[in-house]
């Protein structure tokens, strides 16, 4: 019970932080991205604030190797910069630059009842669903190929 409760509390605090930071206003995010116009550097301060705490939290988690409940810490294992990371991040940047909304603020905007936020969130969920379908398709394809003896011989 402690884990779902902590996750709920963390999500709630995260959302309150987002609202206070001003990042739930897409216009403010777009002003940060508008380096050639009237530039609002606030987003950089949000990241610095978050990292100033996050840095020590991740350092502690790495040193302990376990959580405070002695359960394992799940850190991403991938280390290489691959094409998926590059193209995915560029595509995300395109969408972000078009409207000034990223996933966290998108959810908060939708929950506070903004029609635009709801449209964004539904489309984002659809995008994630499409990704999931494509991934499953790709994985089952490569499994089939792997099992074919002809493919193994060619290697």
């Amino acid at each position: 019970m402690l884990i779902p409760f902590t996750a709920l509390l963390s999500g709630l605090v995260f959302g309150l932080g987002l609202i206070l930071s001003g990042m739930t206003d897409p216009a403010k995010v777009l002003s940060f991205l508008d380096v050639a116009g009237l530039w609002d550097p606030s987003l950089m301060f949000v990241m610095l604030g978050a990292i100033s705490i996050g840095f020590f939290a991740f350092r502690a988690a790495k040193r302990r190797g376990r959580t405070l409940l002695s359960t394992p810490v799940h850190l991403p294992g991938t280390r290489t910069v691959d094409l998926r990371l590059i193209l995915g991040s560029l595509l995300f940047g395109m969408g972000w630059g078009l409207v000034g909304i990223c996933p966290g603020p998108g959810l908060v905007l939708a929950a506070s009842g903004h029609t635009g936020g709801i449209v964004f969130m539904v489309a984002m969920l659809l995008g994630m669903f499409i990704f999931d379908r494509l991934e499953k398709h790709r994985q089952s394809d490569s499994n089939v190929n792997y099992r074919q003896p002809g493919n193994i011989e060619r290697k």
Binding site: G11, L30, A36, F92
Partner: protein, 142 residues
């Protein structure tokens, strides 16, 4: 040129620290990374076993504006983009963050906090791309 009228370094930094605290709480108790796109992506996948903490985190995030509204007034929001563009952008953000394994929270906050080279590359790329799109939309199309 800096927009001094809109620049809010104090509330931005404080809000950021609160986001950092939420990240620390999730990491040190549940052992999970507070990357929003990854958490929602896991829900969309309907993976068995780790549904509860994801659903709980997202519920907390969705409750935040309600709690805020209960205590005071939500800050003003300006969305000037058409619904068509919002939908296209949403699709791009959904697919892009899943292929790129993260968004502003997963790469920008958590990844940079743990000094991950992948997250540094991702953050630089989505920021530069975002800036380029804003430049094209605001300064070369109009």
């Amino acid at each position: 040129m800096i927009d001094w009228q809109s620049f809010t370094p104090a509330s931005a930094f404080t809000g950021g620290m609160i986001i950092g605290l939420a990240t620390a709480l999730l990491l040190l108790i549940t052992g999970r990374i507070a990357g929003i796109s990854g958490i929602i992506g896991g829900l969309v996948e309907l993976r068995r076993g780790d549904f509860a903490w994801r659903a709980a985190f997202v519920s907390g995030l969705l409750l935040a504006p309600w709690l805020w509204q209960w205590l005071g007034e939500l800050p003003p929001v300006h969305i000037e983009t058409s619904h068509t563009v919002l939908a296209l952008a949403g699709l791009a953000v959904g697919i892009g963050t899943r292929y790129g394994s993260g968004c502003t929270s997963g790469h920008g906050v958590c990844g940079l906090s743990r000094l991950s080279p992948r997250s540094m590359v991702a953050t630089v790329l989505f920021m530069i791309m975002g800036m380029m799109v804003v430049y094209v939309v605001r300064h070369s199309l109009s």
